[in-house]
């Protein structure tokens, strides 16, 4: 019962925020912030709200399609990445002294190409990491076999 009451209170507290939410490129923003900077591809807004409330706001906003969002906790910030085809790519919620700063970034092929190149390189990295011990083993075993063959031939 207690849980239900807490949930209802939380919903009540969050619902006006959700209802009045603004957005940038379709990414929701809590109302009432001060725009710090804005370009075509990025918008940074400062809020005098607790960090936990900002995260709760986004969890509530994205709950219907949560599997298409990744919430990456970075200690003093949470990086929210979006995986469906929305015009925006990420929302970064950063703790500041007074409240939070929310930065929304536009989706771009630069990000996709960059991350793919990095991951292709990572496949090499993984197999190179396996290659090194195997190559060492191969050299050692090759020498041992050559020595054995030489000893056999001498005998």
């Amino acid at each position: 019962m207690k849980k239900l009451i807490y949930m209802l209170v939380a919903l009540f507290l969050l619902s006006p925020m959700a209802a009045m939410a603004e957005d940038f490129l379709g990414a929701p923003l809590p109302p009432g912030g001060n725009v710090v900077s804005k370009t075509d591809s990025k918008m940074e807004v400062a809020y005098a709200m607790p960090y936990a409330d900002a995260i709760a706001f986004y969890k509530e906003q994205f709950k219907a399609d949560i599997s298409n969002f990744a919430f990456r906790d970075r200690g003093d910030a949470t990086y929210i990445e979006e995986y469906s085809n929305k015009p925006w790519h990420s929302v970064l919620v950063t703790k500041t002294g007074e409240g939070v700063t929310i930065t929304v970034s536009k989706d771009s092929y630069t990000w996709i190409a960059g991350t793919l190149a990095l991951r292709f390189f990572a496949v090499f990295l993984v197999l190179v990491a396996l290659y090194i011990p195997l190559q060492i083993l191969s050299i050692v075993m090759g020498r041992i076999q050559a020595k054995k063959a030489a000893a056999k031939a001498a005998a």
């Binding site: 085809n85 993984v126 990491a129 195997l134």
Partner: protein, 382 residues
């Protein structure tokens, strides 16, 4: 009994039959199923999978069949049961990897570990296709699951698709296995186009003998390295290496035999039928699966190019040159791609035996595609 009662009786009986509910879409799916069963039975293309997949497509496209839904008591129906516990729970691809491990001899890769790089290079198509899919409007998760088709590894494709885009499972699995079966048709023209005659005639030195001790250590070392770097791929790689350890240890012959034969055969039946059964006409007859099929082809081509190009690149730095005809084997598709390398090599020199050399990149391809899948899972959270 009145005429109305008799009419109601007949109507009640006919209503429980499927024949009046059949649609042209179902008939079209029968034709598609028939095509894949034809490929399996007549052309012998990947029959172990294409036959059960084809039958799965066929049987699920009948009206009112109690196969992929839930009973009134809430229990999954027959194929839904296989699908739920086998694929949604991600069990079957891992069990297949256990069996594959028990059947794999890593000797050629241990003897020539440079081939690991070829396996990595051959994943190029996975990433190129990913980009193509995103540009075509697929979500990032869907794009990743389509991209992995080029890795030519059925269980990996199914595992990743089930995690990221289960709605594409049928189309992706079918594309993966169809193109794997067509490796002997797709790859040779690319291999010939990318190599000179002199390169095709390169003879590689006979590989050193690999001791049993090395073969026992290999799955342990590979497990440490791969899982430390990509923990997300632990279910697949862990089972693969466990199966291989069974085999190489030589002390659990019964487990090796079961993993590589009976167990793998059992789950292959469930895998094939369940994957086929996901292809109900309502989900399959749309532009997306057709697009996946066309992109799958591009994927295979680019992966083959990636493998051959990696060997050519390596040759710039190596004293002992590698025959670039083995580069195609980096796409996985074990052992078909390695056989293709050998057959194409023999066209130019009957005394050039490339099969064992090509097994190295072939096995590296399995690990490369699993690594790529693991990176996607890590990226999108699965």
């Amino acid at each position: 009994m009145s005429a109305y009662d008799v009419y109601e009786m007949f109507k009640g009986t006919i209503d429980t039959m499927g024949i009046l509910s059949i649609s042209w879409q179902m008939l079209l799916m029968w034709a598609i199923a028939g095509f894949f069963m034809y490929l399996a039975i007549v052309k012998n293309f990947e029959p172990l999978l294409l036959l059960p997949i084809g039958f799965g497509i066929f049987i699920v496209n009948f009206p009112m069949v109690p196969l992929m839904g839930y009973t009134s008591a809430g229990h999954p129906e027959l194929i839904k049961f296989f699908y739920h516990y086998g694929l949604e729970w991600e069990i079957i691809p891992c069990v297949i990897f256990l069996g594959l491990g028990a059947l794999t001899d890593f000797g050629p890769l241990i003897a020539n570990p440079k081939m690991l790089l070829v396996g990595a290079g051959a994943q190029l198509g996975v990433f190129v296709t990913f980009t193509g899919c995103v540009m075509a409007g697929f979500t990032l998760k869907e794009a990743a699951s389509v991209g992995i088709i080029g890795g030519a590894d059925g269980p990996t494709t199914i595992y990743l698709t089930q995690k990221l885009a289960p709605e594409l499972l049928g189309a992706n699995a079918l594309a993966a296995y169809s193109y794997m079966a067509m490796v002997p048709l797709i790859q040779p023209p690319i291999m010939r186009a990318m190599t000179t005659k002199a390169e095709r005639l390169i003879k590689m030195r006979q590989m050193r003998a690999v001791s049993q001790t090395e073969k026992i250590f290999y799955p342990l070392v590979a497990t440490v390295v791969i899982i430390l770097l990509i923990p997300a791929v632990a279910p697949l790689m862990g089972m693969f290496m466990l199966g291989n350890l069974f085999k190489e240890s030589g002390v659990v012959a019964r487990l090796t035999e079961t993993s590589g034969n009976a167990l793998m055969n059992i789950v292959t039946i469930f895998l094939g039928v369940s994957v086929g059964a996901t292809m109900h006409w309502s989900a399959f007859l749309s532009p997306k699966p057709l697009f996946i099929f066309s992109l799958g082809m591009v994927d295979f081509v680019v992966c083959t190019i990636g493998g051959v190009a990696t060997v050519k690149l390596m040759n710039l730095f190596l004293k002992e040159k590698i025959n670039p005809l083995i580069g195609n084997a980096g796409v996985s598709a074990v052992p078909m791609a390695a056989r293709v390398s050998h057959v194409v090599g023999q066209e130019y020199d009957k005394k050039n035996y490339l099969l064992m050399h090509a097994m190295g990149p072939n096995l590296a391809g399995v690990m490369g595609s699993a690594a790529a899948a693991g990176l996607f899972i890590a990226m999108f959270g699965g």
